[in-house]
């Protein structure tokens, strides 16, 4: 009999609970926002509880491989769950109005289920299903209550998601054809070589880079993230793009042999640098606040690709990857929520005209400041931890150019974040509306940004968690 703390129950609950909440939102449509919010918080509690079951795995309903659904919780998976869950919980609390839109609550809980299934997924096909669930629910969320521009952005987002998923599925089919198994560990132990390895890796990588919005495949991201409701943008940029890059990391670390990653590393490094420059410059020039934040996501995703480019030779690169992902998720979601409030208080979102929304927006302004610092990698934030780790490990591996590159990229980020800092200090025009906003939203944003700050102090436990798994 599984006890309360057995991995079986906890891991299954991480997928089943949000799905049950999805049913709940359909059965009780009037309570749907409350159900979705409660489920988001329960999910956070479950993730915290799951810390004790790291290393466990389970097969849903007792069906084993190859037809059953296997869930596996290692340190890496827990870290990704641990930064996603607070984003969902706090964003849900900050965006009750959005969740009250028709269907939003249902899609929200479905999204959580899909995200958890990906992070826990132990076999390649279940990851495909997870990717599709996430992609479809995220696409539908971006289209909620939106006009033609948002619908067009959502449609493009859907096509990118579908194309990426199908490229990935092609890779899965090829791997199954070559090995007869879908379990990541078993595939790795079979040791594919030559075209049988290269072809699926190429297909899957292309698909995942597309879904992950890594430049030059980022064209769809700013319109999709920039037109959605703030909490949807928050979830999209914080978690959804990370799911694709998480699968990419798993594929190259756990399935492909290390020599293959070493061979492909220059590609990831080049793409990462490209993304950092392209996203940073676009963010510097962006007129609208949400476009600025969305392009900043493009730049930040470049850091993940860069870290992946060092994962073969620098053991700390995985830590840097996780730290970049977590810091960006927490900071960016806080920034999206706070920016939404500030734009609403200003009555527009043109960066050069934005002004101080007033004393009532203290928490939101603090969230912008802290999140901006975390994204720029200022100490002592999580972004700093990530950069420091990557720079030190890359230097140890002989790549001395990484430290100055990361520092320069941080300056670029600081330059566009300074545009927001300037806006927060600008005196509002005389006729500015005296805005008041629910205090909960500002504090939610501040909580997310503060978590990104706190992450900077958790480098040693983070390294220990990922050490156990590697």
């Amino acid at each position: 009999m599984p006890t309360a703390a057995s991995p079986d129950a906890v891991l299954a609950a991480l997928v089943v609970l949000p799905l049950a909440a999805t049913l709940g939102t359909l059965v009780l449509p009037r309570l749907a926002p409350a159900v979705a919010t409660a489920a988001s918080w329960a999910n956070l509690a479950l993730v915290a509880f799951a810390f004790g079951t790291i290393g466990g795995e389970t097969w849903l309903a007792g069906w084993s491989a190859p037809l059953g659904i296997g869930l596996r919780l290692d340190g890496l998976a827990w870290v990704f769950l641990a930064f996603s869950a607070p984003v969902f919980a706090l964003a849900a609390s900050a965006g009750r109005a959005t969740l009250a839109e028709d269907g939003a609550a249902t899609l929200w809980t479905t999204l959580i289920a899909g995200v958890n299934a990906i992070f826990l997924g132990a076999d390649l096909f279940n990851l495909y299903v997870g990717l599709e669930v996430v992609s479809l629910s995220a696409t539908a969320l971006t289209a909620i209550g939106a006009g033609a521009a948002a619908a067009r952005a959502a449609l493009r987002y859907l096509f990118v998601g579908l194309g990426g998923s199908l490229l990935y599925l092609m890779a899965v089919a090829s791997i199954y054809r070559a090995t007869g198994t879908l379990d990541m560990g078993l595939v790795a132990s079979i040791g594919l070589q030559g075209p049988a390895l290269a072809a699926p890796l190429a297909f899957a990588t292309a698909g995942l880079l597309l879904k992950g919005g890594v430049a030059p495949f980022h064209f769809w991201l700013p319109p999709a993230h920039g037109n959605a409701a703030p909490i949807v943008s928050a979830a999209l940029s914080a978690v959804v793009v990370k799911t694709a890059l998480y699968v990419l990391l798993r594929l190259w670390l756990d399935v492909a042999p290390q020599t293959a990653l070493a061979d492909a590393a220059p590609i990831f490094r080049a793409l990462g640098l490209l993304a950092v420059v392209v996203g940073g410059v676009a963010a510097l020039r962006a007129l609208r606040l949400k476009a600025l934040i969305a392009y900043s996501t493009v730049a930040q995703l470049g850091y993940l690709a860069l870290a992946l480019g060092f994962a073969a030779e620098a053991p700390g690169a995985t830590v840097a990857f996780a730290a970049f992902a977590a810091a960006h998720a927490l900071a960016k979601s806080g920034l999206f929520v706070a920016a939404g409030m500030i734009a609403k208080a200003n009555g527009h979102d043109e960066v050069p005209r934005l002004a101080d929304p007033g004393a009532a927006y203290g928490p939101a302004k603090a969230a912008v400041a802290i999140a901006g610092g975390a994204l720029a990698g200022l100490p002592p934030t999580g972004g700093f931890l990530a950069k420091w780790t990557l720079a030190q490990d890359a230097a140890a591996a002989g790549a001395w150019w990484v430290a100055p590159t990361l520092v320069a990229a941080g300056l670029l980020t600081a330059a566009y974040m300074a545009r927001l800092a300037t806006a927060m200090m600008r005196d509002p025009p005389e006729d500015a509306p005296a805005g008041e906003d629910g205090p909960l939203r500002g504090w939610s944003a501040l909580a997310l940004a503060s978590a990104a700050l706190l992450l900077g102090f958790l480098g040693a436990p983070l390294a220990a968690l990922l050490e156990a798994e590697r």
């Binding site: 203290g362 400041a369 200022l378 931890l385 420091w388 100055p404 320069a408 300056l411 600081a414 200090m425």
Partner: protein, 502 residues
């Protein structure tokens, strides 16, 4: 009694003060002033405790886990005490002044909140026990001073803020790069008396350490306003007077100068720095800065801008003293950390009091102001005499040590530099003093008010700090004077035997 938490408590007290002040509504003026003073007095008390403990041979260090293999360390040594003591005293004085200055301003919770954060960052810079900790607080200082520089929120302030951020974030980036490289090369960045790096680590022809030195100095050089990295300082003049006072005397430029001292003495060490020939270029930059700042100061009619260029010049005495590789000159440089602070804060207090009371900002409008504001102008005069370097002020003590150190080590050009610099100082301060005391006030000048010349909170603080510039010089021989501390410190660095550590 174990007081290992004391350095952390000092940083935390100021930080918590800032948070509490942020949460105090704008209208609760008295409550906020009280909280502010409470924070400043509590900090001063803790610093007093620290000074007392260290003078009895104690040594305090707080370590916190931070990055893997690189902890945050706050600790007390003689050098940090000098800076911490200066900051604690001047924070209290400046708080009083700022309460008087901002009696009718908007956004006061924000102002005083960031003010406290700024002091917290300065305390952290002072107490940092390794380069990483120094970097953390150095960046925090940048962030927390930005809202102070742009406090007025108008177009000129925002422009100044952008320039300020561009320089200081750029400097922070250089410092970050240098720190990353140092940790990658050496594995740690502890501040060690005599230098962390040893000669054994340098290989002939290996320029890596020289490069690290250059990058680090460029990083701290921005805040220390070394030419050509000084451009932000005159621009940041748009800030309210208490901010300028703090920026110029305690927080920002001083953090940069302090960083130079730390990097030369506690990372590279006197011996290694000489072996790698790192110091002559630093001397050259410092000398150029001293001259250039003075030359530019001459041409300014705006009082605060003239003071700003004067800061550019004066702060480089610290870098110069450190770079001369002689104990007496080093003493002159390190002691100037304190001396420049109390003199310059006096001058900015006075400039603010004048502008706030009479609206006068230009030197050409200051004719006869001595009769109108005798207390303020007396304080100004004392501090200006100190800047010129005349006895019996602390400015003289600085210049005396710098010059005699340079002479003893055979660098006579420094003596010439000191004379030229003092000449410049006189050239841009004496005309102000002449105008104020001996020129007739213009016909349309406001009559002297009955009662006090200004709010006591505006002319009291500069009177106190002006008094300190004389007292610290008169009692320079005392072991408890700033000079006494600095002497002990320099002896440690240069390895002389000495009887009793402070």
């Amino acid at each position: 009694m174990s007081l290992a938490w004391l350095p952390l408590a000092i940083v935390a007290t100021t930080l918590v003060s800032g948070v509490v002040i942020f949460l105090t509504p704008d209208r609760m003026v008295r409550t906020r002033a009280a909280l502010n003073l409470l924070g400043a007095v509590a900090t001063l008390g803790l610093v007093g405790l620290l000074v007392l403990g260290v003078s009895q041979g104690g040594s305090y260090s707080t370590r916190m886990p931070f990055l893997p293999g690189a902890p945050l360390v706050l600790q007390s040594d003689a050098l940090s005490l000098l800076f911490v003591g200066l900051s604690a005293v001047l924070w209290l004085v400046t708080t009083l002044y700022a309460v008087g200055y901002l009696r009718h301003g908007a956004h006061r919770p924000r102002f005083f909140g960031f003010f406290a954060f700024c002091v917290s960052a300065t305390m952290g810079v002072a107490l940092a026990g390794n380069l990483l900790t120094f970097l953390v607080f150095y960046e925090m200082l940048t962030i927390s001073t930005y809202p102070l520089v742009t406090h007025r929120g108008d177009a000129a302030s925002l422009r100044a803020g952008r320039i300020y951020l561009a320089y200081t974030l750029g400097g922070g980036a250089m410092l970050l790069l240098g720190t990353m490289l140092l940790y990658a090369l050496h594995g740690s960045g502890e501040f060690v008396v005599g230098g962390l790096l040893s000669l054994a680590e340098t290989r002939p022809g290996d320029g890596a350490l020289t490069l690290v030195f250059a990058v680090l100095i460029a990083g701290v050089g921005v805040k220390a306003a070394l030419v050509p990295l000084h451009g932000w300082l005159p621009v940041a003049m748009v800030a309210p007077a208490p901010v300028s006072a703090l920026l110029h005397a305690v927080a920002v430029v001083k953090a940069g100068a302090f960083g130079i001292v730390r990097i030369v003495y506690d990372i590279f060490g006197q011996t290694l720095a000489e072996t790698l020939h790192l110091l002559p270029p630093l001397s050259a930059v410092a000398a150029a800065t001293i001259l250039w700042g003075s030359i530019r100061a001459l041409g300014q009619n705006d009082l605060k801008r003239r003071l700003a260029y004067s800061t550019v010049s004066q702060v480089s005495y610290i870098a110069l003293g450190v770079s001369l590789a002689h104990p007496v000159a080093a003493l002159g440089g390190i002691i100037h950390l304190v001396h420049q602070g109390i003199m310059k804060i006096t001058l900015f207090f006075c400039a603010g009091a004048i502008a706030e009371t009479t609206g006068i900002k230009k030197i050409s409008d200051m004719d006869g102001l001595g009769a109108r504001m005798p207390w303020t102008m007396s304080a100004f005069t004392v501090a200006a005499v100190g800047m010129i370097g005349l006895p019996p002020t602390v400015g003289f003590v600085t210049k005396w040590h710098l010059s005699s150190g340079a002479l003893e080590s055979g660098q006579a050009w420094v003596m010439v530099l000191m004379l030229v610099s003092s000449g410049f100082n006189a050239a841009y301060f004496l005309p102000i003093i002449r105008r104020v005391w001996f020129a007739d006030p213009p016909a349309d000048a406001l009559p002297r008010p009955k009662g006090l010349e200004a709010s006591p909170l505006l002319f009291g603080p500069p009177a106190v700090t002006a008094g300190l510039t004389v007292l610290a010089a008169l009692f320079a021989e005392s072991r408890l004077s700033p000079l006494g501390w600095a002497e002990a410190l320099v002896l440690l660095e240069f390895g002389f035997a000495f009887g009793e550590t402070p």
